[in-house]
Symmetry: C2
Subunit: 343 residues, 2 copies
DNA sequence: GCAGAATCGGAAATCGTTTTCCTGGAGGTT
DNA sequence: AACCTCCAGGAAAACGATTTCCGATTCTGC
């Protein structure tokens, strides 16, 4: 591998001069030497060793990104947004996937700390387990003590800069909208009990219902993914066909679960939206062409990822939380229902 | 930031001993000192500086991954597979997205070279532009001269280890299967003219048709994404409704384009599969719940990503190409059509 | 007990850069 | 002409690890 020293020797200048020419320096170097160095560098095909640069400069140009699952379009969108701003600032991104294992999240922060990345971005919901949260926070604190910056996309529990999706607010708004369509009895595919994002959405939804004087929704817990939605909806299917239950609308706490629910209903001959309305959350772009098109709450995921990185990169003492509000979008998976007979 | 020297001093041992204890070394160190060092390290919260390690060892534990677009589930799946094996080997992954700009791909290889990553993985189709390809190859050669390893997922044009999806073969098999359903006149949403993956699929499809003595398909070029599929299919819509054309089956060269096509047909009141059959390629997992479910060619994308990294990491002199065959899966978007009157 | 082998611990060189400090010469001012 | 300032260029000290030597033990076998 050709080193800076090779370049310097080949150009007949000192190491210092070569360094000043090739990598941004405040110091000037004379035109003739400059030309010689540049020539030598291209001839030899010199590529700076970033590890050495990082060591000498004490600061790298790498940022770390931790997501649960890249295949999940939710995280892919956030990652994409973050990577776009990273690129625009000449930074390079290290991505780690936890596959929803909190231990791996902690381990990954530790790894990124070792890499001395200049910022780490944590995307996605954490479990409500206080022990795990504490250890994650410790790891992050250690990282910050070394001058690292941290930002999150998700709930604000790590006193770091955070882009907070309006989960409760969006779900509440969705609940009010659906109630406005005439729905009275709801079921919620609530995801895992310990997942904060899921909990917030359920709470916002149920809270709004209560505020309207409507009965509490029926909650079905399960995994946060497509199959979880399928299973949960399957368990609900009987309740929908049985007239005494009277559930007319199902809220899945995210779009991929809603997709599973749609499939479950279809497999059972339950028509959406004729027999039951279905709504999701997130407005995943890849899923916009579903039939029936999913009513959901739109979150600007890419912007959120981008914004989080901007927060992390912008050095400010106190932690900031930016609320991103979701926008209810009604499509074909929900319909207006006629006024119901009381009780 | 706490350094190894701090740990050593705090434990009352030399730098060498501390290093041997904390980071895998062939040398043994006595139990008492070992304990002291470990204690000091955890007390101080020591995290090795990977940049320094990489410099001293001359080898890092980072691999680079270049994809076109993380939001595209095709690349997300490949990335996921690669990251799983990276993780299992204690490696960390740097991801770059080119957003289909060949220049950015080259630039990214250069960046990864500077990072001295131990392997780079290139995923996705390259353009057929020979000039761009040459420059990419030069950059890769420079990287390999420095001891780097390269592997690709996609076509084998860089004499590096390659996982080659059976694009032509899969498309041919699909064509034969569809012909077996009775289809005679086809249209192909062919993607960009310069994209190798798209070209291979078109060629395989058309070739198989020719082999069966069927007329050449009507080709519609356009972007490789959902909207490209929509536009291309919209342009086709007239041809389908007009009886003289008689196109009964549309092959979109990838699933996301097929999704766009489905939407275009739906918007125009053309029913799939009653009025026209539609098939895609890739079998994207996120899209399995579409209605009608998409007939397609399944590629084991995650395995392909994983395998590519394994190839890259397994040091062998000559470049290997591994063909991954796709499997035709028929779902509801294609139907059998009755025998047609000749001519 | 003693030679030789094995082993453990430490001093110092090394990795590829950046950056501080120093030096010598050019240019400007009285 | 003497003095001072400025500035381009180079020597050398970081940066934070690993690793090669080398010296000092302890162990082994006779």
């Amino acid at each position: 591998m050709v080193t800076l020293e090779d370049v310097a020797r080949h150009a007949g200048v000192s190491l210092a001069t070569a360094s000043r020419v090739l990598n941004g320096s405040t110091r000037q170097v004379g035109a003739s030497l400059r030309a010689k160095v540049e020539l030598a560098a291209t001839q030899l095909g010199y590529r700076p060793n970033v590890a050495a640069q990082a060591l000498a400069r004490g600061a790298g140009n790498v940022i770390g990104l931790v997501v649960h699952d890249l295949v999940d379009p939710y995280f892919a969108a956030i990652a994409d947004g973050a990577m776009r701003v990273a690129e625009s600032r000449g930074l390079v991104v290290m991505v780690g996937t936890t596959h929803r294992d909190p231990e791996r999240e902690i381990a990954y922060v530790s790894t990124l700390n070792a890499q001395r990345v200049c910022a780490v971005l944590l995307a996605g919901s954490r479990t409500a387990d206080p022990h795990v949260t504490r250890r994650l926070r410790e790891e992050l604190d250690r990282y910050r003590e070394g001058g690292g910056r941290v930002a999150c996309v998700g709930q604000d529990l790590l006193d770091a800069d955070t882009v907070v999706p309006g989960n409760a607010e969006g779900a509440a708004e969705l609940a009010r909208t659906l109630a406005g369509l005439g729905h009275r009895r709801f079921a919620v595919l609530a995801g895992p009990a310990g997942l904060v994002t899921a909990r917030d959405r359920v709470a916002g939804f149920a809270g709004a219902l209560a505020g309207l004087g409507l009965p509490a929704p029926r909650l079905v817990h399960g995994p946060f993914d497509r199959d979880g939605g399928y299973t949960a909806a399957a368990g609900l299917a009987d309740g929908i066909t049985a007239p005494d239950e009277g559930v007319t609308c199902v809220f899945a706490v995210n779009d991929v679960m809603a997709v599973g629910a749609l499939a479950a209903f279809r497999d059972r001959g339950i028509r959406v939206p004729q027999d039951v309305s279905v709504a999701g959350f997130d407005d995943i772009a890849t899923l916009r062409d579903l039939v029936p098109a999913l009513s959901t709450v739109r979150l600007p995921l890419q912007d959120m990822g981008a914004r989080a990185l901007e927060l992390a990169l912008d050095p400010v003492e106190e932690a900031r939380a930016e609320l991103v509000t979701g926008e209810v979008v009604l499509r074909e998976s929900t319909r207006r229902v006629g006024p119901q007979a009381p009780g």
